[in-house]
């Protein structure tokens, strides 16, 4: 169970990115959605320890982790998949998955983690995680790392961002399988209806606050309504 208590994140110029956020997240699969710039990624980075809240507390299973470093939060059981996966010169896929697992892992284990995310293991094990990999490949390797860590709380920041439709279809399958297997909580930031559709709960963030939280049946119709409104506006624009 991860809890955020009155968490705010305010920039030095006084601009508030998140304002007094209160959340308790303990379900298997929770999706966070909301407009661009609403503070979703900041929320993820506060959980991972990359940002420190300006005020408020973050608790993991009742333990206050607000002041723990990124490393200590990782050790406490938080994983974080970046929206823009990082490239490394000379570090291979196998190296990263080994680091993620926290021990030397066998070739068979590496292959298992890669197959789980739909990558043909023998083509990737010894590949460098550098600019030669496509955005979609990097996203999957990022997910494979999180799987190798298998911690109690995993955060994914827009796993679908920047990948093509073909890869996206496979990605949905990957998350469906993760839903079935996970023993902890997956928190996923996403704009995609098909990802939101898997979620036990959807949290809507807008303007730096939690504006709604509930089951997909409660939240999705409202979201789709917002989209319809936009389409209508676009049509009106074209008529003018």
């Amino acid at each position: 169970m991860l809890e955020l208590k009155n968490v705010s994140y305010i920039l030095p110029d006084g601009h508030a990115i998140l304002k007094d956020v209160n959340l308790s997240i303990g379900e298997r699969f929770v999706a966070v959605t909301g407009p661009n710039g609403s503070g979703k990624s900041t929320l993820a980075k506060l959980i991972a320890g990359i940002y420190t809240p300006s005020s408020g507390k973050i608790l993991l299973d009742g333990e206050d982790i607000t002041n723990l470093s990124v490393t200590d939060r990782a050790k406490a059981g938080i994983s974080f998949a970046f929206q823009q996966p990082v490239r490394f010169k000379g570090i291979t896929v196998k190296d990263l998955i080994s680091i993620a697992a926290g021990r030397k892992i066998t070739l068979a284990e590496t292959c298992h983690y890669l197959s789980e995310v739909g990558l043909c293991a023998k083509n990737y094990v010894n590949r460098e995680v550098d600019a030669s990999l496509s955005g979609g490949e990097l996203k999957r390797i990022e997910i494979a790392m999180i799987n190798a860590r298998s911690t109690k709380f995993s955060v994914f920041d827009e796993p679908e961002a920047g990948i093509d439709l073909w890869s996206f279809n496979n990605l949905i399958e990957v998350f469906r399988r993760m839903y079935d297997k996970t023993k902890g909580t997956i928190l996923i930031i996403s704009h995609q209806e098909r990802i939101l559709d898997i979620a036990d709960r959807i949290i809507l963030v807008s303007g730096g606050t939690v504006s709604a939280s509930g089951t997909k049946e409660e939240i999705l119709p409202g979201l789709l309504g917002m989209t319809a409104g936009c389409r209508f506006t676009e049509r009106e624009d074209r008529h003018e």
Binding site: A48, I50, S69, V70, T71, A74, K75, I78, S79, F80, F82, Q84, P85, V86, F88, K89, G90, I91, T92, D95, L96, I99, A100, G102, E128, M145, R149
Partner: protein, 305 residues
């Protein structure tokens, strides 16, 4: 060999003892031992320190090891080694120099290696430099490599200097004939007050020849590095020179890649990048449970692999 010499040998050649096949072992300024093989002949030079290595045409899948070990303080030497690689060979040459200096005088080794790679031959040349010892005497290595690549020949040169060399000026000059290829991978890490300068000159003289010069380096503490690379295209050819450096602490790095086209069909590219370790790389590895220091080590080890 004593224990110090054995350790140096392990560092520069990954060897615990001399291997099967041809080798030449130089310890403290003198030829300690050598062995020929059926196709490889090693001949001691009469007029100056060094050896001639003759590899018979058509020799395949053989290797030559020529390590140099310096364990006495204050020793300074210049050694001339000439490699004659016959037509259609496919061989590996492993050279390396290890200096152990626990005295107050400087130890210095300058190896001047000249390669004559004949038509159609394929050569892999691996060179490692390593220094150790806690004396105040400096460990200095100034290698010079001269390369003549015959038609349709291929040479891959891999040089590594990771630890303990206080001062190095590495000079490489190469002339390429038609259809030949030269690939250079250089890896350097400097720390403390060390200084390393590399200077590559590649002349692409024959039609269809090409080169790829890649240098990766890490400069730590107060160390200084200079990378110079000059590739000239004098025929229809392709050349690529690339320097990629990680700078840390109070180090200083200069990169001067230079390309010169003297023919309309010469296609030349240069790239140079210097920067500290990207913050996002550190954070990514920290989210996997590594400390900042561990993350830094992983990134450097990968970069210099």
């Amino acid at each position: 060999m004593n224990k110090i010499e054995q350790r140096l040998l392990e560092q520069v050649a990954d060897l615990h003892e001399m291997p099967e096949g041809a080798y030449s072992l130089r310890i403290n300024g003198a030829l300690a031992s050598k062995r020929d093989s059926a196709h490889i002949q090693i001949v001691k030079k009469e007029d100056k320190p060094g050896i001639d290595i003759y590899i018979a045409p058509g020799t395949k899948n053989e290797s030559v090891h020529i390590p140099v070990l310096l364990a006495e303080t204050g020793l300074k030497e210049t050694v001339y080694n000439d490699f004659h690689v016959g037509e259609d060979c496919d061989v590996t040459i492993v050279a390396g120099c290890g200096i152990h200096n626990c005295g107050v005088q400087d130890s210095e080794h300058s190896g001047i290696h000249t390669f004559y790679v004949e038509r159609g031959a394929k050569l892999k040349y691996v060179e490692k430099h390593y220094g150790e010892g806690d004396g105040n005497g400096k460990r200095v290595m100034n290698p010079t490599t001269e390369v003549y690549l015959g038609p349709d020949s291929y040479m891959e040169m891999e040089t590594t200097q990771i630890k303990g060399v206080d001062s190095t000026i590495r000079t490489t000059n190469a002339k390429l004939e038609a259809g030949s290829t030269l690939i250079i991978h250089e890896k350097i890490m400097t720390h403390g007050d060390q200084f390393a300068k590399t200077d590559f000159h590649v002349e692409l003289n024959g039609e269809g020849c090409g080169t790829h010069v890649v240098s990766r380096s890490v400069a730590k503490d107060r160390s200084r590095q200079t990378f110079l690379s000059h590739v000239s295209g004098n025929a229809p050819c392709s050349g690529h020179t690339e320097c990629d450096a990680i700078i840390m602490d109070d180090a200083k790095v200069t990169a001067l890649p230079q390309i010169e086209a003297n023919h309309v069909d010469a296609s030349l590219i240069h790239e140079a990048a210097i920067g500290k370790i990207a913050g996002e790389q550190l954070i990514k590895l920290m989210t996997l449970g590594l400390t900042e220091k561990e993350a830094e080590e992983e990134i450097i080890n990968g970069f210099l692999r």
